[in-house]
Amino acid sequence: MNNKDFTITAKNLTKQFGDFTAVDAISFEVGKGEIFGFLGANGAGKTTAIKMLCGLSMPSSGEATIAGYDIYKEPEMIKKNIGYMSQHFSLYQDMTIRENIRFYAGIYGLTNKQIKERGEQLIKELKLENFADRFVADLPLGFKQKLAFSIAVIHNPKIVFLDEPTSGVDPITRRQFWGLIYEASHRGITVFVTTHYLEEAEYCDRVSIMVDGEMRDLDTPVGLMKKYNKKTMNDVFLYMAVRSKRKE
């Protein structure tokens, strides 16, 4: 297999907690700049899978490379090349927007000049000029999520992992959020995103569907709808998820 064309490769990646197999031998590849959707009901193993890919959790077996680096041997290199935004809100509420930007850019080793340039550009793009020195706690949730995403890619990572980034956000903001995702993808950043908003799945280049820790299918949204003869991703997902044996 030629790893160069892919930014993520996974082969039989498995995670077991005792007798329970949270993620069961998933295999897939993600190309550069691709928006890869990772769908599944709660408890299907999405978060566990994403944690393994980010180096937060050691796989029980299987192989994976991220940005060309092996997840067992080169976790430090992987960390430099990825961004991550969790389903928990990931900015510090007791710090201002500028302070948050400076902190995250700082721990990724950006120079002071870079921090200043990219920070101001980011604030401008998000139209946060009037809020830049206000505490993050005072921002509306939609703004917080957009800010968190922009900060997650401030160091120009090769891949950004988004774990349910839009939960609890209104549809309009969700739309704007996806605008940011497209933009990142155009810049060549691979986007790996989990979601349970199924209309969002249709924005992805390809979508994988997790059921009971297994990857049941992987295709473009159009391909999946055709294959299962459904009109929306919602119907495809329901059709597959109904077959889950695992209870939440």
């Binding site: 430099k80 928990h88 990931s90 007791d94 902190f103 700082g106 080793g109």
Partner: protein, 367 residues
């Protein structure tokens, strides 16, 4: 290094923007100092005393005057019967009663007179302090009036208290307060600050970042180490200004030993954060797992030598016990490290053990 500085800066934002942390950091030491200094004192001033004088006369009245003018006692009541005395004790109106028996006036010249002191034993510490003081006053009065009779007195021991000649309680509690505050700030605040990031989920972002776990731990503890040292200086300064408690030994040595104890406490704090997932748990563990044993078993309030054997053995694993010996030696005795190198070694061992264990545990948690 740049990453580390960014991290430290963030930590100071958290600390200085959280009122509760600030109160614990700066309010608590002052409150404890004042509490122990003014409220919880073992000195006696103006204790309520009653006199049951069954033999009024020149001598007995003189003795009563001497007693009342000493400053230790405040005459609250003159008593005229035993029932009245018991009643006064029950109502908590008196702590001590001096009974002068009917034959006092007649026998006092012959050196045969007796005096009875009755103290409220429900507060044994106070009772023993009061009776000792009263005895001393009676003794002085005797010397003043009956020098000739005292020649046949038996040996009269001259007691002198080394290192704290006036038995000022401030000199005993200041080292204790420093110990408690260092433990509190270092261990409790560190464990809470780490678990807070767990609760908020921000810790995952830190784990995913290029920051190494060791850097994260060090970044978490360094601000509290700095603040703890500042706290120590603050307490010592306040103790000197308010209660005139000096540091007789080397201040630099004291700060170095404090730093060692801070390391031990920080290790414990990180350890607590590895086993607790919420701030609540971390707080509970710090309070009941660290603070209570530190206060009760370190020898700060209750002397270790008068504890039952099992507790004496347990007290050896309390880091504060060793630090208290060290800080008392430096502050009160003014001696150097030659006198407490063993205790210092124990603390070095403990801090290496706790820090090592917490780093090991931290790595396991990441898997």
């Amino acid at each position: 290094m740049k990453q580390f500085i960014a991290f430290i800066r963030k930590e100071f934002y958290h600390i200085f923007r959280d009122t509760r942390t600030l109160v614990v950091l700066f309010g608590m030491p002052l409150a404890q100092l004042l509490l122990f200094g003014y409220a919880i004192t073992t000195e006696v001033n103006n204790a309520k005393i009653g006199i049951y004088n069954q033999s009024p006369g020149q001598y007995s009245n003189g003795l009563v005057d001497k007693m009342v003018s000493s400053g230790f006692f405040r005459l609250t009541e003159n008593i005229y019967s035993e029932a009245e005395m018991l009643d006064a004790f029950k109502k908590n109106k008196l702590k001590l009663v001096m009974v002068i028996p009917t034959d006092f006036e007649s026998k006092v010249n012959r050196g045969e007179a007796r005096i009875q002191l009755i103290a409220d034993g429900s507060d044994p510490n106070l009772a023993s302090i009061l009776t000792t003081s009263a005895e001393a006053i009676i003794m002085t009065w005797m010397k003043g009036n009956f020098t000739q009779n005292l020649d046949i007195e038996t040996i009269n021991p001259q007691v002198r208290w080394h290192y704290n000649p006036e038995l000022k309680s401030a000199e005993m509690f200041v080292p204790g307060v420093v110990t408690i505050i260092l433990m509190l700030v270092s261990a409790m605040l560190t464990s809470i600050s780490i678990t807070r990031e767990k609760e908020l989920g921000t810790i995952e972002i830190l784990y995913v970042s290029p920051l190494r776990p060791v850097t994260i731990i060090i970044g978490k503890v360094v601000p509290f180490a700095i603040l703890s040292i500042i706290n120590t200086i603050m307490i010592l300064g306040a103790a000197y200004l308010i209660f005139s408690v000096p540091v007789n030994g080397s201040i630099l040595l004291l700060l170095a030993e404090s730093m060692l104890f801070i390391m031990t406490s920080l290790g414990l704090g990180v350890l607590i954060s590895t086993v607790s997932d919420t701030q609540q748990t971390a707080l509970m563990l710090s309070l009941f797992g660290l603070m209570l044993p530190t206060i009760l078993l370190s020898g700060f309030i209750f002397p270790i030598s008068s504890m039952p054997l099992p507790l004496q053995i347990i007290s050896n694993i309390i880091p504060a016990k060793w630090f208290l010996i060290i800080i008392k030696s430096i502050m009160l005795k003014g001696v150097g490290i030659a006198y407490f190198w063993k205790e210092t070694l124990v603390l070095v061992g403990m801090s290496l053990f706790f820090i090592g264990l917490s780093i090991k545990k931290y790595k396991i948690r990441l898997q």
